[in-house]
Symmetry: C2
Subunit: 429 residues, 2 copies
């Protein structure tokens, strides 16, 4: 079934009008790109090019599978990060419970390419989008869809447009004062839960929060704040349970971005309701990981892990963006042909990790090489005056924040450890 759902992606034709695809190659079916013998280090791609290292993806998948196994939670990874149905299918094959998405458009992409269990981690507000969800629920008995609600007004909007046979499953979202979405406080959230339960068109399936908005310069304070929030979420679940508001089981207890899923497990995995419940984590970044923001957050996470959850190895950065040196106009300056259109820059600039002369062996980027600014299509690389880097050389960069890096690519290339192209991954942003 996987192969069938993805077939339209494999059948897409790629050519030099696709960023990264070699200009001088004829058009090729996406599914056949792995057979072309393309080698990044020989200049076999066009640059800039985004690559995913298969070994790192596989390592990260094993890492998370092991964490999930030990924690007893289940994983519904956030698909907004990659928006790549090919990767969704791997995550599902690795045991993911479903795929989380942020918008109705993203949910539609995932469904179109075969994802049958979707957690929409937002409250849909547009009648047309709710109508599509409802129509799909009614048309496809295998479609398992859940969304959020955080206000009575939102519940009323859902109810008004969810005019179908199957009730629409809903999680009540709990927020924090000054935070993002989510009902403020236990009583407000309970009122939403009661309204969902009272509607024949909606079905209360659990509770939810997104603790990932917490992030200050003080990790200890962040931890305390998140733990208190999760305790309140647990209290909300207990109250809903005591009032008999949950209409279907197992009850979903969902939280967990990519930075604090350990705290979620510790706060929620032990919660005992009157019936079965399931902790649903939603990390989107574990699969590609990064070499910046999430690398730092995961280091903190690993330090927090109790013995039973302690992992042997770290997550590895799978995503690299490679650019070519276009100019060496001064001894201490190089300009790469990659810019804001190609890499994330919201939580840190890209950092060179490797370089190569086309046809040669890759070498680690020296510590003194630093990207100090990005324009739309250029990166300013400052380096020692005697650096050997010259026009035409290739520089591979680690990125910080996968979500704002994937969305700059319609096609990423999966590579082996020698940067031979194994295949192409299509995104749908």
């Amino acid at each position: 079934m996987t192969a069938a759902a993805l077939q339209p992606i494999f059948d897409l034709m790629l050519d030099g009008s696709c960023k990264g695809y070699p200009q001088d190659r004829p058009a090729t079916r996406l599914g056949d790109v792995g057979g072309l013998g393309l080698r990044l280090l020989e200049g076999g791609l066009d640059f800039p090019a985004a690559v995913l290292k298969r070994s790192a993806l596989e390592h990260n998948a094993r890492w998370m599978a092991e964490f999930i196994r030990r924690s007893g939670a289940c994983l519904c990874p956030h698909g907004k990060t990659t928006m790549a149905p090919q990767l969704f299918h791997r995550q599902l094959a690795d045991g993911a419970w479903g795929i989380t998405l942020a918008t109705a458009q993203q949910a539609r992409v995932a469904y179109r390419y075969g994802v049958k269990r979707i957690l929409l981690a937002n409250e849909p507000a547009l009648p047309g989008a709710i109508a599509w969800i409802q129509a799909t629920l009614d048309a496809d008995p295998d479609f398992d869809f859940t969304c959020l609600a955080d206000s009575l007004e939102g519940v009323a909007r859902l109810e008004a447009s969810a005019q179908g046979r199957r009730p629409l499953p809903v999680l009540v979202e709990l927020g924090i004062p000054g935070g993002r979405t989510g009902a403020r406080g236990l009583e407000a959230a309970l009122a939403v839960a009661r309204a969902v339960q009272a509607s024949p068109r909606l079905q209360l399936r659990g509770v939810e929060c997104y603790e990932g908005i917490v992030g200050s310069q003080d990790p200890a304070a962040d931890r305390t704040r998140i733990q208190e929030w999760l305790e309140q979420l647990a209290a909300l679940a207990l109250r809903c349970d005591a009032e008999g508001l949950f209409e279907t089981g197992p009850v979903l207890l969902s939280a967990g971005g990519s930075a604090y899923f350990d705290l979620v497990v510790q706060a929620l995995a032990g919660l005992r309701l009157s019936g079965p419940s399931q902790v649903v984590l939603r990390s989107g970044c574990y699969f590609s990981h990064d070499a910046g923001h999430y690398e730092r957050l995961l280091e903190l996470l690993e330090q927090r892990l109790p013995e039973a959850l302690r992992m042997e190895r770290r997550l590895l950065p799978a995503l690299e963006i490679w650019g070519q040196v276009l100019s060496r106009p001064e001894p201490g300056l190089a300009f790469l042909g990659l810019g804001k259109r190609d890499v994330s820059y919201d939580l840190g600039l890209p950092a060179p990790v490797r370089w190569a002369r086309p046809g040669g062996q890759p070498e680690p980027a020296p510590a003194g090489w630093k990207i100090t600014a990005l324009n739309d299509q250029h990166a300013r690389l400052e380096l020692p005056a005697d650096a050997r880097l010259r026009v035409g050389d290739l520089v591979g960069c680690g990125i910080s924040h996968p979500c704002t890096a994937f969305d700059k690519w319609q096609v990423l290339f999966e590579v082996d450890d020698d940067y031979r192209v194994l295949g192409a991954i299509r995104t749908f942003f």
Copy 2:
């Protein structure tokens, strides 16, 4: 010819997996979207949605045509801004001399959709990309292509891969110390010019700089620095002319991003060489304009204009991104379903300009409404506690920096002043 080249774009099918396209509508040919009767203000699009106001586009096109007419320069607008061949064709129909692009991939997109004169404002460094350019020059006698060179090494790379019948036209790029690409100083640039002239495979067609990298908190100092740079570019052209290095006419004198094209005209339009020459401006942002960074820079530009170039009206912001209120969790807070995936944030956050209750009339966004933070998929809108905005309402935002806004959309919707959808514009990033 225009219609024929764009036909594959008009024939693309859009459906709810495309961001902005209504979820509950059947798939439609892109060329037929204008006939669907979609009305943004009635919630007829999915949100977030990016719209281009036709009246503003037309106004900006007239503005620039008038500026070009008075200045005597010609316009080769930077296509990287929009990467929308449909807009390229309008710019050409409005009198643009050609389209500027930043990468070989972008050039390939433009050529595929019928753009026959391309200025690549970079030095291509990858053999496969240069080979594609050369093969296309040789195969299509109507293809007029020019690229940059800023070093002897770059010239050697061009020469090594430009193995064809037609010589490859080149502009020598002049930089400034500490700046971006471009040969540093007159003598270095002259050496590059001589190397281009000496190569039978390359053809020296002119000189170039990109003054847009200058931008400090001191407009007067910026102006002086740019004027000195342009004077040096003029001196370079005179030296190349005196040495007989230009191999084809008219000689191109190209500079001009979206902020200082007035200074370029004033510095270069009066330059007299031994044969014909042409000033080629490259503004990419004039067409959509913005409501932030370029709005401020154009205000400075208009203040600088001498009487003969003074324009009657200002450029208008054509691009707006509309989002829907997903949550009103506190009296002074609203969260819109638009985020870093949807709007530019590198040169300022989006700012609400209008809002509407679906089915109602649009109103100007009150001055006290302010977007203070973006997440991947959310905008945090702070507003007075008594604001009438509620869940489901629509908020339209002006953006700052078109280049990093267009690239977040595969399809933008062109609308009239009542936000009725007139058509769909496809981008190719």
